[in-house]
Every structure is written in C-alpha cells, then in structure tokens.
C-alpha cells in the first residue's frame, strides 16, 4: 500500500500545520501586512455592480440579506441534524451514513447560497466591514468551518461509527456546531456594529 510522503498520519500533520500557521499569522505582523494589501480589493468591491446595487437600493440589499438568513436556516438545520445524529440525539434509528450523506447534499447548496449572498452584501458595505474586527472573526470562523467540515469531519465519518472513538466523535460534532454557531453569531454582530 503506497504511503504519502508525510507517512501514515498525513492528515494529522497537515491539520497541526494549518492550526500552527493560523496562530503564527494571527499573532505576528504578517497579519497587518496582508490586511493593508487587501484594502484595494475592498475599495474595488464597492465599485462593482453588486456594490452599486447594494448601496443604492436598500430593498435589494435587505432581500438578499433575507436570502442569506434562509441559507443560514437551512445550513443550521443540516448541521444540527447531521451532528445531532453523531451525538445520538436525532434520527437515531436511521443509519448514520444516510443521515450524514443526505444532510451533506443539502449543506452544499445552503453553503453556496450563503457564499453568493454574502459576497453581494459584502460588496455593498465593503469599506465598513473592512474596518470591523467582528467581520474578520466571521471570515476566520467561515474558513475554519469549511476546512473542518470537508477536511476533518467528512473523512472521519466516512468510517463506521462503531469503529470511531466515541469521545472523538462527540467532540467533532460539538466543534462543528460551535464553529457554525460562531459564524452565525458574528454575522448578527456585524449588523449591530459600525
């Protein structure tokens, strides 16, 4: 059986490296450098068609925001059903493979809706969110959530539930719920800031 260049614990090594890199990036001047470099991008976002529509017609912005909320509701439902199954509280008499896979299919669409509507809204208020720390927390949470979901959680639950350490399974489910709740809560916070 061919092994990767990093040996049999490839995924663990990559996970630890990504977390370490994120910590180094967050607590050093590298973050400030990147922050200054991306300001022109946010200035440009406000000049796009999305930015113009978002700034000019409050009704359009609010309708897209409602779409964002519906995407959030569906994503939240998928996360709660899927992680609830892993925690053994929801749909316990349905094989976990079916619950997790089917929830994942809807999750993908909900995430796509959130990303599209989120980009539209970001263009409308680009310079406001650029200076908001809570927006960057949300982006950190979003990146973390997407990476965690696809690179950690999915490979784990691809195995038989009975073979997985129950503590690891529950921690994974709780972490998944926490990270998406963080994304939702910081998103709401943006509305109260600035």
């Amino acid at each position: 059986m061919p092994t990767s260049i990093l040996g049999p614990y490839f995924r663990t090594i990559v996970t630890v490296s990504v977390i370490a890199a994120a910590l180094v990036f967050s607590f050093t001047y590298a973050r400030n450098g990147v922050y200054v470099e991306i300001q022109p991008l946010f200035e440009w976002m406000e000049t796009t068609w999305f930015g113009y529509v978002g700034k000019t017609w409050g009704a359009a912005f609010a309708t897209i925001q409602a779409g964002h909320l519906i995407g959030l509701a569906v994503l939240g439902g998928c996360v709660l059903v899927s992680d609830g199954r892993l925690l053994g509280v929801v749909l316990t008499d349905v094989p976990h493979r079916i619950v997790v896979d089917r929830a994942d299919a809807v999750f993908r669409w909900a995430l796509a809706t959130l990303l599209v509507t989120g980009v539209f809204m970001a263009c409308g208020v680009a310079m406001k969110i650029y200076y908001l720390p809570v927006y960057w927390y949300k982006m950190l949470g979003l990146a973390c959530g997407i990476l965690f979901h696809y690179c950690v959680r999915r490979p784990l639950v691809a195995h038989e539930l009975g073979a997985i350490n129950p503590i690891v399974l529950k921690m994974t489910a709780i972490a998944s719920i926490l990270v998406w709740f963080l994304v939702a809560a910081t998103g709401r916070w943006i509305g109260f800031s600035g």
Binding site: H159, N165, V168, I174
Partner: protein, 54 residues
Amino acid sequence: MNEENQSLTDGQNTGLKDAQTSALVAASAIIIFSAFYWFAQIQSVRELLELAYG
C-alpha cells in the same frame, strides 16, 4: 491473498487513526478557541454594563 487483506485492514486502521487524531486536534482547537472567545466577549459585555449602569 490473506496478506493483501491484512494490509488493506492495516491501511484502513491507520486511515481511521489518522482521521481520529486530526479530528481530535482540530475539534480541541475549535472548542478551546470558542471558550476563550466567548469568555472574552461576555467579560467585555459585563464591563460595558457596569460602566453603563454602575
């Protein structure tokens, strides 16, 4: 044949261990970060409320 099956099972076990370890590391990082983040948020809210209401 038996050796191939054994190697496949060993590979699956290693794959499971790898997935479990990375999940443990990532989930721990998320839970610890969330604990710190929400503690800091609640602290700042408490301080602001004390400032506002005495």
